[in-house]
Amino acid sequence: MLRGLYSAASGLRYQTIRHDVLANNMANATTPGFKRSAVLAQTFEEALLVRMSYSSGRPLGLLGTMPRGVAAAETLTDISPGPLMHTANPLDLAIEGPGFFVVETPVGERYTRDGSFRVSADGVLVDGRGYPVLGQAGPIRVDGGEVTVERDGTLRVDGRAVGRLRVVDLLDPVQVGENLFTGTERGEAGAAVVQGYLEGSNVNALEEMVNLLEAFRAYEAVAKVVQAHDEVLAKAVNEVGRI
């Protein structure tokens, strides 16, 4: 009896986490380079049910197994590409294909697909937060003049090559906020860099709404199960045991 109540409660908790993740995806529906997350569920370990003898208290036989509820096992980052949006701004860069730009933050190298770059007051190519964007030979100086970026990531200022952007492939990228990712580098991605474009968020409103509906209805259904358990318990306590 109570076992079912706790299973149902774990269901409520799981759907809540799912909704939290969906809300975050939806809030970032227009964040450049954002990658949506999804939650994977797992059932708790199954419990063995055994029939016990009333008189001796010894087990009489095996009844089978029963799952004990659900929990969020893992959040996965869906790294499928977002749409490329034309901005015409020469310092907006997008990656066509897999790969990440590398930026140097105070806590080490981080990776991003958000290529809305700019030039700092001292002439260095930086991201929206002011972290230097790394090229093959460290930060890139783009002092004055017209900036062009070739598909292989080579930056030219007034036709003069000033550096080549690092675009790396990541194993298990994890989002950490500020449009940044951490992960294990797997070498050069070999993807093309396109100038004057930004990669949009890969959140699809339709998909998120369907997931939201599903999570909401599942929550509703599990809430009903909790209520049913409550009613059964009420019967047991108030009616069956009436003296």
Binding site: N24, A27, E74, G128, G177
Partner: protein, 251 residues
């Protein structure tokens, strides 16, 4: 539960700021020298709800925030006006203006006028900085401005124009870092870097630089902002209903 409410609220707030910015861009579509502003968003920190040594984690984000408004200094179209005191800049650079309270400001709006003492001023009457005297002699009938910014005045009765000065032009390492102070003027900041004088821009007389706002682009952004706002409101509603269900578990 409450986390999703806050994430959605953050999403709605961010989209609201975006609509504000788009509205300002659209309102300035006919402002000479206006440069459009773009809002930039970033996701917020992720919280780890569970995790193990193998790196399998349950992470939940906290929504979104407006990280910056970025002014896009792309060249605007040049509109012919025929007015000899309308100047447009082609290429990077700014006209330099003396503020009445002291200090310098910078502008791309070249709809200049003549002051009573024969100086080139902005619509607000702020003096445009020139190297040289910069004062049109009395009896000037024609003012001409060369591509390099040299201003000459032709005095009635003479057939040789007289050079009165050269418009001072400035560039910045990071123009997007300039602070807009209204009246189409910008002020130097630490983010923009120090002004460098002597820009490569061409001065075009009889033209004004139109705002670089693109109507279609702004309308598409407006649609996206509105729909994203709506999307987030759905998630607020769902969170609210889920809370109501939880509260009504015990009847």
């Amino acid at each position: 539960m409450l986390r999703s409410l806050w994430s959605a609220a953050a999403g709605m707030y961010a989209q609201q700021l975006r609509v504000d910015t788009i509205a300002n861009n659209l309102a300035n579509i006919n402002t000479p020298g206006y440069k459009r502003v773009r809002t930039e968003f970033q996701d917020l920190l992720y919280q780890q709800l569970a995790g193990d040594a193998a790196g399998v984690t349950v992470e939940v984000g906290n929504g979104v925030r407006l990280s910056a408004t970025n002014r896009i200094f792309i060249q605007g179209n040049l509109l012919e006006t025929g007015n000899p005191l309308d100047l447009a800049l082609e290429g990077d650079g700014f006209f330099v203006v003396n503020l009445p309270q002291g200090g310098r400001a910078f502008t791309r709006d070249g709809s200049f006028k003549l002051s009573s003492d024969g100086r080139l001023v902005t619509s607000e009457g702020y003096e445009v900085v020139m190297d040289g005297s910069g004062r049109m002699p009395e009896g000037t009938v024609e003012i001409s401005v060369a591509a390099d910014g040299t201003v000459s005045a032709l005095v009635g009765g003479s057939d040789q124009p007289r050079e009165v000065g050269t418009l001072r032009l400035a560039t910045f390492p990071n123009p997007a870092g300039l602070a807009a102070i209204g009246h189409n003027l910008y002020r130097e900041t630490r983010a923009s870097g120090e002004a460098r004088y002597g820009a490569s821009a061409r001065v075009v007389q009889g033209y004004l630089e139109a705002a670089n706002v693109e109507l279609v682009g702004e309308m598409v952004a407006l649609i996206m902002a509105q729909r994203a706002y709506e999307l987030n409101s759905r998630s607020v509603k769902a969170a609210d209903e889920m809370l109501a269900l939880a509260n009504n578990l015990r009847r």
